[in-house]
Symmetry: T
Amino acid sequence: MDSKVYKVIEIVGTSSESWEAATRTAVETASKTLRDLRIAEVVKLDATIEDGKVASFRVRLSVSFKYEGPD
Amino acid sequence: MDSKVYKVIEIVGTSSESWEAATRTAVETASKTLRDLRIAEVVKLDATIEDGKVASFRVRLSVSFKYEGPD
Amino acid sequence: MDSKVYKVIEIVGTSSESWEAATRTAVETASKTLRDLRIAEVVKLDATIEDGKVASFRVRLSVSFKYEGPD
Amino acid sequence: MDSKVYKVIEIVGTSSESWEAATRTAVETASKTLRDLRIAEVVKLDATIEDGKVASFRVRLSVSFKYEGPD
Amino acid sequence: MDSKVYKVIEIVGTSSESWEAATRTAVETASKTLRDLRIAEVVKLDATIEDGKVASFRVRLSVSFKYEGPD
Amino acid sequence: MDSKVYKVIEIVGTSSESWEAATRTAVETASKTLRDLRIAEVVKLDATIEDGKVASFRVRLSVSFKYEGPD
Amino acid sequence: MDSKVYKVIEIVGTSSESWEAATRTAVETASKTLRDLRIAEVVKLDATIEDGKVASFRVRLSVSFKYEGPD
Amino acid sequence: MDSKVYKVIEIVGTSSESWEAATRTAVETASKTLRDLRIAEVVKLDATIEDGKVASFRVRLSVSFKYEGPD
Amino acid sequence: MDSKVYKVIEIVGTSSESWEAATRTAVETASKTLRDLRIAEVVKLDATIEDGKVASFRVRLSVSFKYEGPD
Amino acid sequence: MDSKVYKVIEIVGTSSESWEAATRTAVETASKTLRDLRIAEVVKLDATIEDGKVASFRVRLSVSFKYEGPD
Amino acid sequence: MDSKVYKVIEIVGTSSESWEAATRTAVETASKTLRDLRIAEVVKLDATIEDGKVASFRVRLSVSFKYEGPD
Amino acid sequence: MDSKVYKVIEIVGTSSESWEAATRTAVETASKTLRDLRIAEVVKLDATIEDGKVASFRVRLSVSFKYEGPD
């Protein structure tokens, strides 16, 4: 059978260092419970500010994985 | 550790009165099971029509919450 | 009470034949666990390529269903 | 026969009170001459200003109805 | 004289079989009353669902034709 | 009564000289049958090419006017 | 002389009651120092959430006014 | 070495039968001269009309391939 | 030191003749008080209509300049 | 055989006089080496500024032509 | 009183090292004169090139702050 | 002569370390064959995932260069 179904979700990672570190954290956390992640698309980048400095870099990612049931 | 991961979902609220009431309903329903919601972004507004009149106002919202596991 | 809350998710269907078949597969799979799906909006279309030929047609769909609890 | 054709038009409603009232007015006016309207999608919201205050709320809506002939 | 004026409208076609059939139906219906249609641009694709299966494929098209008077 | 309803349509003007001339032509043609036009928003600009040269400049405009009945 | 120059800025209004009240507040505050505001376009709507309920409705508006000098 | 560079181009396929056939034609033509194509993303769909009927379905695709030199 | 900060603002120019003249007017007015403008990006084009004719062409431009303090 | 394949490229034209002149220059330059150009779609307009005045008008155009081989 | 008004501006940061460094520089510069910045949203990323190498990374950010008067 | 013509292409860079490294690689590779590159605009960011970790960061860039002939 050649037809498969995937589900797409959005996750947000944060890091005080870089958007790449925020991406790694989000991907590794999601991978603990979701199988077969292959691409993470960046949907949005921003930064939180505290006391006039960047406190954290945030990245919103769209990832897809094999669909296996109820949400 | 300074890195956190969030999940983003979209919900739709409806109300026969206003988009604000639809938003309140959606946020309060989602808050029963999701912790630490802080911002609801409006993704789309529309209205259903019956017999030539507005029957309900609908708002699609994007909300994020702390990620804690399988989807 | 006239206010209802829905949840919106995105799913991806694939088919070696057409985007319509990919859509049917995704909708039928999602319907096994989600109640009261009524509209599937196309968010994105693409195709995978193998050996210089289209291997599968993929469709990303946005569908909504009645919200009934934790994610 | 299972195929139907619809036409989509855009209308703008105005109200000195709210975007919901503007929507109701636009939908009710359009319903006098168009049959079977079911959804009004919000395309744009704005407000006119006079003497430093909001004079009217305006909503641009996209509505569809059964296609029955020349434009 | 080298200047011409066109009008653009949006129509929606539906079909239980495919988006192509929905497009053909919409174009042929519009052509009965509008002259000189040349391009139909796809604005949106979706599908209606009944009983967990796709009931119809819908395509929203933008078409233009020679402008000849009141709307 | 402070609520009014408008209709929005799109028209396309063409000119062998400039997008401004194309806009003037479209606006003046539409004004023959539509009352109270006040703003024409540019939705799209393009040019047709013949024999390796620009043959005409085209502008797609969105204009609104007072709504007075069936489409 | 027929040419004028305007400046466009974005402001955000908040209200615990509605997006319309948030819009009125923002427009009236801006009007204290900016002359000749005429249209406020909605750029974004969202809501802040506290303790599982909507705490405030926020609207981001784009407004323009006569340009008179340094920023 | 873990860094690679790709080039992205857009191609348009046409078919009198379906957008899938148009996609297959475009992909197979491009594959004759470009190596290692893997995904074709749909950028735009439209149809040409002749004598009131759809004459051809057109699909604009974005494809990427290994970058190997001057354009 | 290799890091600089710029500010981006939007201005609107108007002209009874063309969008180019509207652009020149806006750029020259802004240059009186802002230093080192280098690019003006077109954000939006429209035209105002009076008595069924184009009264003025308007262009909304985004320009950036060296950031030197409070807004 | 009724299926053809086209390639789409983007070009940028510049002119000290107008966006139309910039468009003509770009189209005529591209036509020296590309056959059968028929439409140039405007993707972006901007202007370069020197000494507080517009130095050149730039237009980014998307054009398509018959696909005949390696890139 | 529960209603507040904010102003939104766009700033551009540059750095020869990374987009994160460019963001930090822009945020710290803006914080010298603007109070209570909390979020910086990325609007655009690009890079300048000199002699075939990246010379600087640039980030355009949207930030909001409490509105306190004339622009 | 004051009019020049440029061509715009899209390239994708990859790196196991950062989006900045991916950008540098893409720019340096493209500079080997294209003259006078000055700006690289980020069109899209994503990351590939292998075994639950980020394998590479990818950046899609739009770059322009002097147009000198057939594609």
